[in-house]
C-alpha cells in the first residue's frame, strides 16, 4: 500500500495537467486514509476521509476554476531552488525520525508518560469510551481550540480575498443541475440521509470514531451537494451566507465561552470538572458543548468556503 502511495506521489509530481493532478490527489488521500485504518488510527482515518479526500479535492477544484488548468512553465533555475528546499526539509524530517522510536515500540517515550495516563485514567476521569475524543477535547483542549480558530481564520481569509457574495451575483447565476433528472432524484433521496449521518457522527464522538471535525465536514458536504445539484440560489435560500458566517463565529464563541464559564466557576480555562456537580458530569457536558462548537464552526466555515469559491467570478 505504501508502494501505491509512492507511485501516486511521483505521478502527481510529473503531471502537467493540474486537473489530473487534483484527481490523483484524491486517490492519494483515499490511500493514506486506508493506511491509517491499517495502523488502527480510526479517528485520523475518519478525518482524512472526510477532509482530505472530499473537501480538499472540491476546494482545489474551486481554486482551479479561478486560475488556469495548465501548469505554467517554470524557469529551470527555480527548479533547483525548489528541489533543494524539498531535499533539505525531507532530510530534516528523516533526521527527526531517526530519534523517534520504532513503530509500536513499547518503550517509546510517548508510551511511557502521557499515554498510560490518557489510556488508563480517561475512563475514570472523563467517563467516555473513545479515548481520542477525551484527549482531543479535554486533555488537549487548548490545541483543539487553536485548530478550530485556524479553520475559522482560513474561512475568513478566503472570504476576505474573494469577497463576500453579493446578493445580486447569486441571483444572476441561478442554475444548477436540476434538469439532470437522475442526479436530482438521487440527491433528493440521499440528502436527508447524509444530514442524519452527520448528526450521528457529531453526537457519537464519545463512543466511536467521530466528533465535531468530521461531523462538520459531512454536514457541509450535504450542503455542497445540494448547492451543486440545485444551484447557488437554492442553497443560499436554505442557508443564507450571512447566517452561515454568523454560525461559524458562534461555534468558536461556544468553545471559548465554555472555557470562560469554567474560569468563572473557579476552575482553570477549559477545565470542565467544575461544570457539573460531579467532575465526570462536568467533563461530559464540557466535551459535548465543545464538540458542538467545533462541529458548528467547521460546517459553517466549509460551507462559506464553498460559497466563496462557487460564486466568485474572475474578471475576464
Amino acid at each position: 500500500m505504501l508502494g501505491l502511495l509512492t507511485v501516486t506521489a511521483i505521478a502527481i509530481a510529473r503531471m502537467d495537467q493540474l486537473f489530473a493532478a487534483v484527481m490523483l490527489f484524491g486517490i492519494y488521500s483515499l490511500l493514506s486514509a486506508a493506511l491509517f485504518v491499517v495502523m488502527d488510527a480510526v479517528d485520523v482515518a475518519f478525518t482524512e476521509a472526510a477532509v482530505g479526500a472530499g473537501i480538499a479535492t472540491i476546494l482545489m477544484l474551486g481554486a482551479l476554476a479561478l486560475t488556469s488548468r495548465e501548469q505554467h512553465a517554470v524557469p529551470r533555475s527555480r527548479h533547483w531552488i525548489a528541489l533543494s528546499v524539498v531535499v533539505i526539509t525531507g532530510a530534516a524530517l528523516i533526521y527527526g525520525t531517526l530519534d523517534m522510536p520504532l513503530y509500536a515500540d513499547p518503550n517509546a517515550p510517548a508510551h511511557l508518560h502521557v499515554v498510560p495516563r490518557y489510556l488508563q485514567q480517561s475512563m475514570q476521569e472523563i467517563g467516555i469510551p473513545n479515548v481520542v475524543t477525551s484527549v482531543l477535547a479535554s486533555y488537549r483542549g487548548y490545541d483543539t481550540l487553536g485548530e478550530t480558530v485556524v479553520i475559522f481564520t482560513a474561512a475568513v481569509g478566503v472570504i476576505g480575498r474573494l469577497g463576500i457574495v453579493p446578493e445580486g451575483v447569486v441571483e444572476s447565476k441561478t442554475g444548477g443541475m436540476e434538469h439532470h433528472l437522475i442526479l436530482r432524484i438521487t440527491a433528493k433521496l440521499m440528502l436527508p440521509l447524509i444530514l442524519l449521518f452527520a448528526l450521528y457522527v457529531q453526537f457519537h464522538g464519545d463512543f466511536g470514531p467521530g466528533g465535531g471535525f468530521q461531523a462538520g465536514v459531512i454536514f457541509a458536504s450535504a450542503f455542497i451537494l445540494y448547492g451543486l445539484v440545485f444551484g447557488m440560489r437554492s442553497v443560499t435560500r436554505v442557508a443564507p451566507s450571512i447566517v452561515v458566517r454568523t454560525l461559524a463565529a458562534a461555534g468558536v464563541l461556544i468553545y471559548g465561552g465554555v472555557g470562560v464559564i469554567s474560569l468563572l466557576l473557579g476552575g482553570n480555562y477549559l477545565d470542565y470538572n467544575v461544570l457539573g456537580d460531579q467532575p465526570k458530569d462536568g467533563q461530559h457536558l464540557g466535551i459535548f458543548l465543545v464538540e458542538f462548537g467545533v462541529g458548528m464552526t467547521v460546517a459553517a466555515s466549509m460551507i462559506s468556503l464553498f460559497y466563496a469559491y462557487a460564486s466568485y467570478k474572475r474578471e475576464e
Binding site: 433521496l189 436527508p192 442524519l196 448528526l199 450521528y200 457519537h204 435560500r237
Partner: protein
C-alpha cells in the same frame, strides 16, 4: 405533510440502526436530530414524492428487485467472460430506448440499465434514454422492452 412524517419515522429508524445505544440522552438527541433533518429537508424542498417515494407498491418493488438481481448476475458473468477472453469479443453499440412519462420511473429505469453491466445509460432527455451497450446482443435484449414493462409495473399509475 405525509412525506415529512414518513421521513421523520424513517430517519429515526436509521438513527437507531446507526447508534445502537438506547440511552435516554442519545434517544433525545436522536429525536432532535431527526426533527432538525426534516426541517432542513423541508427547507431544501426535497421532501416530496421524488425525494421520498412512499407511493411505490412494496410487493412489486421486491419482485422487481429480485428479477433485477437475476439480470445483474447473468450480465456480470457475461461481461466477465468477455473481459477475460483473449480476443476481447465486444461490439459497442448505441441504442435509444423510450422510457416512461413519469420522471421517477424514468430514473428507476435508467439506473437499472446502468446497474446491469454491459449496458450504461449515457443520456436521458425527453423520456428517451440513450444506452451504450458493450455488445450488440445487450442492445437487442434491451430493445425488447422487458425491463421497461417491469419498471412500469412498479410505480402506481397516477
Amino acid at each position: 405533510m405525509r412525506h415529512s412524517i414518513s421521513l421523520f419515522v424513517f430517519s429515526f429508524a436509521v438513527w437507531l440502526l446507526l447508534s445502537g445505544y438506547f440511552e435516554s440522552l442519545l434517544l433525545v438527541l436522536g429525536l432532535a436530530s431527526c426533527a432538525f433533518v426534516v426541517w432542513i429537508a423541508r427547507r431544501q424542498d426535497v421532501v416530496d414524492h421524488e425525494g421520498h417515494p412512499m407511493h411505490l407498491r412494496p410487493m412489486r418493488w421486491i419482485l422487481y428487485l429480485i428479477w433485477l438481481i437475476g439480470e445483474i448476475v447473468k450480465s456480470n458473468i457475461d461481461v466477465a467472460k468477455r473481459v477475460w477472453s483473449p480476443k476481447l469479443p465486444i461490439s459497442p453499440t448505441l441504442v435509444k430506448v423510450p422510457a416512461d412519462s413519469d420522471e421517477l420511473r424514468q430514473v428507476i429505469y435508467a439506473n437499472s440499465i446502468t446497474l446491469t453491466p454491459g449496458t450504461v445509460s449515457i443520456d436521458l432527455t425527453d423520456a428517451t434514454i440513450t444506452v451504450h451497450a458493450l455488445t450488440r446482443e445487450g442492445a437487442l435484449a434491451l430493445e425488447t422492452g422487458e425491463m421497461a414493462r417491469r419498471v412500469h409495473g412498479v410505480g402506481r399509475a397516477e
